[in-house]
Symmetry: D2
Subunit: 484 residues, 4 copies
């Protein structure tokens, strides 16, 4: 682990020169720019935890390639225990940051590509697996942050990759040279992209033969020539950008992970960093494995966020003098219930993990999809309950400038007070935290990150083994299994 | 109607001199200030519609006091037809503004106070009803906008008004003079306050004898000496304040109604504008009637907003090429279903309206509470479905500055395009509209405006006539009604 | 009204000679047979109420044809007030019977056929409307009970009426003679059939030209030659058949309406009782109008049933000493809330009623479909809450024979007691009532009566006016209505 | 394992002479009586599976006391693997029986009492643990079926055990002799009681000092003098009792487990079979541990039942020609999703298992409670979806006597047919299976078995660690942990 902690991670970012735009201007240094620094801080915690006595066991692992101690975020899962430790790590990080710490995307990309590269080689006699291991060893030794780049823009969604009016709507190979390939296109919604070291490109969907040029996986440095990043907007991002420490809700961290578009304008990738090129029948497995890992994770990090939200409304109820009301307790109970129901699916799909031919471990696909499907429901419901318990003032509160104003500050302090002795500023801070965690971007990310709800439903139906279930029913009803 | 249309309304506001703070600074002219102008525009539409041939029948009424044509927003409902027309008017306004047009609060305050003042006089021989009619005639003739000021800060919610450590947590009479009273305290979450002409003060809860000084209702001009307004924050208000016409989502209108704290620092109110002073047993009826009217309205204006949201996601689905997918159609169906279920309760509580002794008509209280309770559930669920259908890009879109940038504008246009021929900017505009209508403030307002969910549940239980229902059950089960 | 009350209705049934099978045997007299008598009693109440001073205004109407006083169940709605009175009548009957009183099906069939016959004549110059009015006058004057026969068996649901392997899966005309037609097929799930006087046959779905012989509507006496009825099973029907007055839950009435298959084996119908024959383009309107009326009604009778259920669990909570627990009150509140939400849609679709060209009034179709869709959800949820509050003993209680047994009766009485002084038998009776109203048939009927859930969703989507809603959204987002 | 298979189990029951009443009469032989035989058959399968090559690993275990091979249903869990195998075993049994196989109650009672007896001894120097191990060895070696007897009648629920007007509403010690104790009272809802060998009595709730005589745990043979059983009713039990193989839905098995009241009329229990007597502070742990194990199990056996139901509706959709409709597939997807969400919590609370001081393993209490809470919601929702997909005919179908009748059998066959070639009887059989599994008793049992919903909520709130969560929120909002 060349990068040993959060501080070194931040320093390492300063050595990169990615091309980043935000609100029409260039971001020179992501570690200082107010729009990106909070997201850098959240990612930095994934580095810091590796040195924490309490969390070291969760945050690090032993490389099965080199035997060296590595960050768990660069590890290929070797058993069920690895899968479960990951879940616990993510929940802790969710609790500590109250937001997305971004490093799972590359983590899951590594695990998916690792096992699939192995299987491509087995089929075609290629050497993707060795290439990948070499690159992975570099990532592990340096302890790099990798952005897993899967989601393409897709243009007209009623058409496939090779059937678009604009052929660049999915990343594809536009040139093949002796020493490498040239790719074009874009990946959107890229969490943590602006503060990653490497991009791991992966196809976005299962493809057929017509889309050979689109079946591409490779690694690209974040500041490679031809790579441009455009950093997106979030709810209330101006408060973050204006350094409004109270009104931003989370003074240290952002709303979610800090998403960017990554544009590839004819970017050259040397052969040793290409891990798939044209094996369309392996796009499905790669996507589904990545998705399954990533969906499993959402039941972990989001429960961490929900823990924070439950704590926030409980604290606010104390301040407001309502903590003992039966309906308040019942709603808090419901929040806990939904949160832990979600957690169960992350644990369960890990406990039911299985080894791929490469030795890398996969979560149970059905249960991982079930997990993410519940995220898309429960996060909204928990937010609804939090908003209910918090009260309407989270949407009408005067700004921190009024709180601190000479003219009206005393009025804000007087008329937004709660129970005696609890300072009004604390009440306002916790209200702003709830506001930040229940509105807009935070919920949209839960809905669509790791795949939109319908994507999970397709998998759940597909893995439902209906024929086996039909047999069970027929047996019980006294109907012969084979009807003539 | 002295103020005849939206333009005259805006001009009338310029003649007032209220004291308004926002983000630590004074707002001099609400009609121009970027923070308040969008809310002024929404309220102005309540004036404009009175001149629309199509909507005139809904937007105006005939005063039962003067026989003159007045804005419906200043009318005392005289029959079921009035109640139903109001509902239809509010839905239309919701469809046209996509936001809160603010004028219902005073409207409902007028209707509640009217009938209660009549009943106080009947009990005590006071002349509140005549005072009120006189003030109301002025409001009708001038066509003023009235902010219905009910919600007090409440401090420690485990204690009543007269039992607070700080006695000003509920508005109360601090002095009684020959010619009037002096009031102190604050009202919070006051929708439309900064662009109203008059404040109608009402008690916030049912009170007992110990709280005599808190049982006060009166009218106060918005720029009366001692009145200070502090305008609150909303989700993404900076985009509004920065005049970001695309990123704000609704270029002309605000997120919700524009809420403010109204502080009364020893404000004098002449006797002719005092409509209740000390009749604690009438605080309950006043609050419940105001609440019932207001709760009924939420099923009307919010269905207007939901109509917009359903249209927005349907349009976006067309642009994205997904409009015919069965799961898309099913989710749109669900959104319509919830929207119309809500509308039903507004219509039903109106159709079941009844006359108070004053002649003013009330909605059915049970059904009005049921209506609002559903708002607190369905708006979140509809928002969830809208977010599902819209896709994750509403949370990761680059800003309008990037869209318009020379450096990367072409990339944004290319990679956020949809089906052929539909301009990317339209896709982005509709995405920002959905973002604005599904996150943060918009939903919090639905949850808590017109009373928090628990407030409705208490009323629903109370009006449930359990004894009558128990009798029905006993009869059917063959159990004697009178057990011995 | 030749039949003046419940007793006369029961006598009138004894004059009929329908062919009815049940559990493999013939039912000779439906008024005495334990399987059918409870359903006869429920229908009889629709007759009795016409003489009740309290309910007369709801239960009767003035015929717009003859000017004579008639049962509302034979009336063609003439205005919104008629539609609303019907809703109130149905809720009262639901409260008094706790079950289906069966007479709405014919009632709705009458209203749908009336307006459609008028429109067919207008198009084709036929005389169906006069035929229908003549038959209806007979029904009104005699005060007959009519079973509205719509639902066909449908065989293979992936095929239409004329495309079935067995052409009889939909009722159709097999012969046309000078004096009438001959029909074959069956109608299933026919509520109240065995104790009706007349059958009103209607097509079951919108049909195209290929299905001309299937587009048939006519009236047939219940005991016409060739008509056979097979009475279906219900949950716990044996308790009813064995006259177990305690264990049956509702000693006087049945679980639901008493459904039967009506088989038409080449039944002759004279021309004057034929109201449609081959006008396929009118099958859609007839079905949708019948369905809309019927769906509206479900929000009325079922709320009556829910009232009983709410009363039953409230009473049981008193007996068990839990009535004051906050979670009990909250669940009762939720039951009331759902019940009244449902009621709102019945009232609303009536308040928004509109006249057809015939003068007969229709409910608002969108809101009526919304109403029924909610029945399919809320009845299950209310049942779930009732089961929660009742406790597990409703599923494990010893039988009434044990309660009355010399050997163990004292043990049952001792160990199923509640609070002091409340007899154990009352607790058991109310438990059995809850059992009867929350399990099996009762809920299935709510789900599928008046159309399965998907049928409503299709209508809701179709009537959603998406284009109008898209325009609203575009206006607010600043997108031109006509894109070029 | 003295009893080696299902046949031997059935024979073993014939050697017992319990006193059982049902519908006012005595049941002489539970293995032949039509009311009890189906339940005996389901329990027998727990014996048969031990000999199945495929399931042996799940169905048996090695006794940690004797080292001998035993039925898993008599095993004390020694590690996480044991807990997970149990879950898988229960799901398989649910799939094979479609009902309750009853043996978990004793199984969970054994595990709870084992660990608590150890802790009582540690505290008081008693020898309950040795007594218990001795009895358990007997149970393991003989391979007995044990009914875990926890639920007391409770009388007036607003009063505690020692505060009832009738002191027998909770089982208690009425006499203490040198050689044993005498107990009086009753246990209700006792699943599998009539076909068990032994009763394991446990207290029903956490008790305080005032209830010393009620803090009793002991083992009693099912046919001990003074023990009387009264077998309860279930939905449609008459069909079962009348051996209606088609209409009963599940020709071989019952609706649920077959519940009985067990009355103890001064039953003597020798000291060696007493495992707790008066240690009130251990009643809480015993109840909570039993409950946690039992709640965990509900997420396993019920998912087995749901699998059957999903299979049944899928098969019926095929027969009816609707299997490919998008809304059908979507509802089946939802059923699978809910089923697997539930399964996740059973797996998760097992994967997070922990050792008690006795060495016996416990599930994670929070997650086990979450599991059961979801059962009380999902089973109803899955039933609702099943009823939706099945269609209304499951509530109106003619009886099997009509199907087989000479007079009308051909009409039933004709008019209840589906797609070509699929016999109508199969369609009816599967419809009856769905009817049996979605109505009445089946759902009530899911709601209340292993504790009513509110019982879980209390535990979920209690274990929610709100203070830790409040700290997380404060940290993120920048509020000092210790306010001064």
């Amino acid at each position: 682990m060349n990068i040993k902690n959060g501080v070194e991670y931040i320093q390492s970012l300063r050595n990169l020169k990615p091309t980043i735009y935000y609100k029409g201007k260039v971001i020179e240094d992501v570690t200082c720019h107010p729009a990106t620094a909070p997201h850098v801080r959240a990612a930095a915690l994934t580095y810091s935890l590796a040195n924490s006595e309490k969390y070291q066991d969760l945050a690090t692992a032993t490389s099965h390639i080199t035997g060296r101690k590595i960050s768990r975020f660069t590890h290929v899962h070797q058993n069920v225990d690895d899968l479960i430790k990951k879940i616990k790590l993510l929940r802790v990080l969710g609790q500590k940051t109250g937001t997305c710490f971004q490093r799972c995307v590359g983590f899951d990309g590594i695990n998916a590509t690792y096992s699939v590269a192995y299987e491509i080689d087995r089929e075609y006699g290629t050497d993707y697996f060795e290439r990948f291991k070499k690159w992975l060893t570099y990532v592990q030794d340096e302890n790099l942050m990798v952005v897993g780049a899967m989601t393409d823009p897709k243009g007209d969604r009623s058409r496939g990759p090779a059937d678009q009016p604009d052929l660049d709507q999915y990343v594809h190979v536009v040139d093949r040279r002796a020493d490498g390939i040239v790719i074009r296109g874009a990946k959107i919604h890229m969490t943590g992209a602006v503060n990653s070291h490497e991009i791991l490109v992966m196809p976005t969907t299962a493809m057929d033969e017509s889309a050979r040029d689109y079946a591409v996986s490779c690694a690209v440095p974040i500041d490679a020539p031809g790579v441009t990043l455009i950093f997106g907007r979030q709810s209330n991002d101006d408060r973050r950008d204006n350094l409004e420490r109270i009104d931003a809700g989370k003074p240290s961290f952002g709303a979610v992970g800090g998403e960017a578009v990554i544009v590839f304008e004819d970017v050259f990738v040397p052969n040793e960093k290409v891990f798939m090129d044209g094996q369309t029948e392996f796009t499905g497995p790669l996507v589904y494995r990545f998705a399954a890992h990533h969906r499993a994770n959402y039941g972990a990090c989001k429960t961490g966020l929900m823990d924070v939200l439950i704590g926030a409304v409980s604290y606010l109820a104390q301040i407001q003098g309502t903590a003992k009301a039966s309906h308040v307790r019942d709603k808090v109970t419901e929040m806990i219930h939904l949160c832990e129901t979600l957690y169960c699916s992350s644990i369960a799909c890990s406990a039911e993990g299985w080894p791929t031919p490469s030795g890398g471990y996969m979560v149970n696909t059905m249960l991982a999809n079930v997990c993410k499907q519940n995220v898309t429901r429960f996060h909204f419901e928990i937010a609804r309950l939090a908003v209910d318990l918090a009260g309407g003032f989270i949407a009408t509160l005067p700004s921190q400038y009024d709180l601190q104003s000479e003219a009206v500050g005393h009025l804000v302090k007087k008329y937004f007070s709660g129970v005696e002795k609890s300072p009004t500023e604390y009440r306002i801070r916790i209200a702003r935290l709830i506001e930040a965690m229940t509105g807009g971007t935070a919920l949209v990310e839960s809905m669509h990150g790791a795949g939109s709800p319908q994507a999970q439903r397709i998998m759940i139906f597909r893995e439902g083994e209906l024929n086996r279930k039909i047999e069970m029913a027929k047996k019980l009803a006294g109907i012969p299994l084979r009807e003539t």
